[in-house]
Amino acid sequence: MFILVIDWWLIIGKVVLIAAIIGLSFFIAMYTTYFERKVAAWLQDRIGPNRAGPFGIFQPLADGGKLFFKEEIIPLASNKFLFILGPAMAMITALLTSSVIPWGTPLLINGREMPLQVADVNMGILFVFGVVSVGVYGIMIGGWASNNKFSLMAAIRGASQMISYELPMGLALIAVLFMTGSLQMSDIVANQVKNGWHIIYQPLGFLIFFICALAECNRTPFDLPEAENELNFGYHQEYSSMKLGFYLFAEYINMFISSAVMATLYFGGYDIPFVNEATWDLPNWLMSLISFSVLMAKISFFLFLFLWIRWTIPRFRYDQLMNLGWKKLIPLALFNMIITAALMLWLKK
């Protein structure tokens, strides 16, 4: 008698999917660094990296190789265990979030339905929030373990920024959850496929969410934890070699994942706009591919938006950051939540 039947196909399928998504995250993060430099150059009337390979497309490989060959320096006065834990933490949390995002319509393999989502947990979006909150420990531990005043200041800034901006982010999200009635990511997407994208009903909520996502990713104009000109690169000042690479990479993976989350929550996930793709009667694998590409297109747009904003807006001052977070975004998000609730009651949905 079997007490536990192990479904090998499920396990293999999931392992392949996890490997693919991690590989994809790394690939996208690599090329976001490339486009970060390219877009910066274009916006400043320059050409940008163009030496490594055609149009410089091997630049990220060269950068990565350089980071690997750099000398590994651990400061004597630092706490060595935490010093190594910091970048590991940042990387793990950055990669963990991708597990609940639905990447496309389910794939049929040998008559088995295989969802393009690692785990469709019923508290999906809460999981994302939880992991992102843990992500700040990467910054805090790294900054603290460096035993350096600049790093410590950056860590404190990072922590307070994360706490301040998670509140309006969560409040903006509650309005979305009112509409879907579920925390499950697949339900949120299905609701948008049926009733139209949430951005139509929640433009203010999206704006708040987007601003907070910028802050959570430590992107300009909220890059106070790494403020180059004030804090000397902040929390990763003492880091070198691949530990620094992990921090930088985690930032880009976070950008990728937060773009995916925004696309999923407000822009219909893998839904193709203006058409009803269910009536197309395409082969299953093609449908999955198209839906995945659509999601990637949305993500690419958001990534470009991240870069575009970075090379346009200067950094907020610390007091401006706090004012914006506590005095503007939180009341706005509360207002948005109440209006949504009132409208839904009034329309008896």
């Binding site: 916006l43 320059r46 575009w308």
Partner: protein
Amino acid sequence: MQLTQRAKQVDRKPMTWVESIYLWNIFKGMMITLSHLFKRKATIKYPEETRTFSKVFRGLQVLNRDEEGRERCTACGLCAVACPAEAITMEAAERLPEEEHLYREEKYAAKYEINMLRCIFCGLCEEACPKDAIYLSQTFAPANYGRKGFIYKKEDLLIPNPLTHPAEYEKARGERTEEKV
């Protein structure tokens, strides 16, 4: 007191409501940066493309030859004296009877070196030279891995022989000497 007409009065009015929510101004700023995406690039792909220099550009020094391919330099040392950066050193030698096809005058520079790290490309050597033997071309010193590579010997500076290598001679000559000779 106003020194120029370009001075602008700084506006220190408190922010209006539209300004205080930043969004509209951020949008305007982003449109400005977006417009730069499509503008002509100010930079070029250097080794493949080069900018054209003006005719009075002062680049790398060239030691000139006359029409018969003989070196013009007589190692008088005036360029070295004129050089404010003291970048030029030379050693003179006397021409032997069988070397008349090599050197124009009875005395010539056996050794002629310019330290390109010291050189400020002012062109005073060119002005000082009574024999039109040195002038500044329209190329500049390329990058090098060591300091030694920047000390240019006579072989590096000498223009190609117009009799044996006419094409190279024309190229090295550039446009700069045309109005002078």
